[in-house]
Amino acid sequence: MARLTTLLPRGVSARRPRLWRGAVLACAAAYFLVPLAASVVFTVDVPGKGLSLDAYGQIFRADGFTSSLLLSLELALATIAVVLLLMVPAVVALRLGAPRLRPVVDIVCSLPLVVPPIALVAGIGTVLRWGPEHLAATPFFQTLVAIQNPAFPVVLVLAYTVMALPFVYRALDAGLRAVDVRTLTEAARSCGTSWPRALVHAVLPNLRGALLNASFLTLALVLGEFTVAQLLGFQPFAVWVVNVSGSQAQLSVAVSVLSLLITWALLLALTSFGGGTSRRAAPRRKE
């Protein structure tokens, strides 16, 4: 009896799950691949003219493409520099000398998660409007004007850095978990190096994966960011794509496909890279 009941379900269940599994996977594949394929078809299939790659050729001749892309890249580099300069010393210090600060940094770096970008930009807009009203006679006013320079809006770097904090903190913290920072620095220090040299030459090389990880995430965030830039009236890449879509639908889809492929290549590189570090980090959850 016992043998019958154990044999029967197994014989049945071995066949059935494979069917539903196949169906689920097929549906998922269709849902996720069709929009991509359709976008490509949309860009190369000109109604009445047949196949052509014109839309992709137009991208590079389009007005504003180069300047907006360059602006986005510059913003991304500046954001990466600022966020790493702020976060790396902080997370290393949390490991080394100030574990009691961890709750503070935890909270500070999670705060941006509860303020959606649109709420953040509403607040930033309010602060920027103070300028002409209250600060016109003070040097602060010049600062407020300077950070809104359309050629390189520093205010966007500030906003993007805030938005990147949670991701960067998590990436760096996961990377540090796999490294015994204390032993490394103590070894370096007892060999006679100074503190800054110990950090730069002993700790940072071990964090290369986490640093790359954080940089990639920030890059993807800044390149795709639309909300803050549009509402503050600047025109980096994502805003340009939307502005151009009104007149040239095909061009905007072509740019989307292209930017998507680039972003995916970046994120794929990151996940295959980051997957390795997080797996190694997993068994060493001590703190």
């Binding site: 154990t6 849902y31 996720f32 000398g97 602060v127 889809v253």
Partner: protein, 300 residues
């Protein structure tokens, strides 16, 4: 830094100083971060808080404290938008949670490691794929002159991408992968012994899910659900690039009010609406974090 180490003299100083130095060095390393957040995040947050509670008389320019902005943000078109956002986020998060669970289960029980790796990597990529490109991909596929719309004549059947369900279908594109990422670790934590034990006691597959698997999974399922809700609720770029304002959403209303598209002088109502959103996001976090901690218990 170097000078302070060379000036140390005597054993007492050498023993006492490093401890204190460590501590102060920790503060020094964290201070720039705190200062930066206070400036770039604290100032806008305070401005939002202050602005949401003040009203300004257009004639005299005098400001006064009031809750009128909140009252306005919970009335009329603004209330419709807030409820529209909640409805859209709840529906798309619910659907995405179910479909994501199915997909994750299909992948986890699969014997092919390569398939699992591929789906998880793709999910990591797709979960980060919101915003403008997503909107245009769906416009090109299912919009008024989209490829599928033309090929299948969907317009004749009443299909409209720029509607509630069109937006839901689009949001699922980044919500399902997010769910797969959230729930896969929990599914991995379901031990095969539990299923075997249930089977040996005569339980059917449905009974196993009802009494064993779902209770274990419940915290991570709920946690995933609120996480999806939160990210659908905060989404703006996709909706703005796709539907304009044909679907009432709180993010679109805030954007309109900030840029003065509809009425001038609505900035403070926009701030009140933003604060409403922050309140919802805080609620989401308050539910999500304890659930996440609870579900982590089963994974070790």
């Amino acid at each position: 830094m170097t000078s302070s180490t060379t000036t140390l003299t005597g054993p007492a100083a050498a023993a006492a100083v490093p401890v204190r130095r460590h501590r102060s060095a920790g503060w020094i390393a964290v201070a720039p971060l705190l200062a930066f957040v206070a400036l770039s995040f604290g100032a806008p947050a305070l401005a939002m808080l202050g602005g949401a509670f003040t009203a300004r008389d257009p004639a005299t320019g005098a400001t006064s404290y009031t809750t009128a902005n909140f009252a306005a943000s919970l009335h009329g078109a603004y209330l419709t938008a807030l409820l529209g956002s909640v409805k859209l986020s709840a529906v798309s998060a619910g659907i995405a949670a179910v479909l994501g669970l199915l997909l994750a289960q299909a992948v986890v029980t699969s014997r092919f490691r390569a398939l699992r790796e591929a789906v998880l990597t793709a999910s990591g990529v797709l979960a980060n794929f919101g915003g403008v490109p997503l909107a245009f991909a769906f416009v090109a596929t299912l919009g008024n002159s989209g490829v599928l719309t033309r090929q299948l004549g969907l317009a004749r059947h009443g299909w409209d991408l720029y509607s509630f369900w069109g937006l839901t279908l689009t949001y699922l594109y980044f919500l399902i992968p997010l769910m797969v990422l959230t729930v896969t670790p929990a599914l991995d934590g379901l031990r095969s012994q539990w299923r075997e034990a249930a089977q040996n006691n005569g339980a059917t597959g449905a009974q196993y899910w009802r009494h064993v698997a779902l209770p274990v999974l419940a915290p991570s399922l709920l946690g995933g659900l609120v996480l999806l809700f939160g990210s659908a609720f905060a989404a703006y770029a996709t909706a703005a690039a796709m539907v304009g304002s044909s679907v009432p959403l709180v993010t679109l209303q805030i954007a309109d009010a900030i840029s003065g598209n509809v009425l001038l002088g609505q900035e403070n109502v926009a701030l009140a609406l933003s604060l409403d959103m922050v309140a919802v996001a805080c609620l989401v976090m308050a539910v999500y974090l304890p659930l996440q901690r609870r579900s982590a218990r089963w994974l070790d």
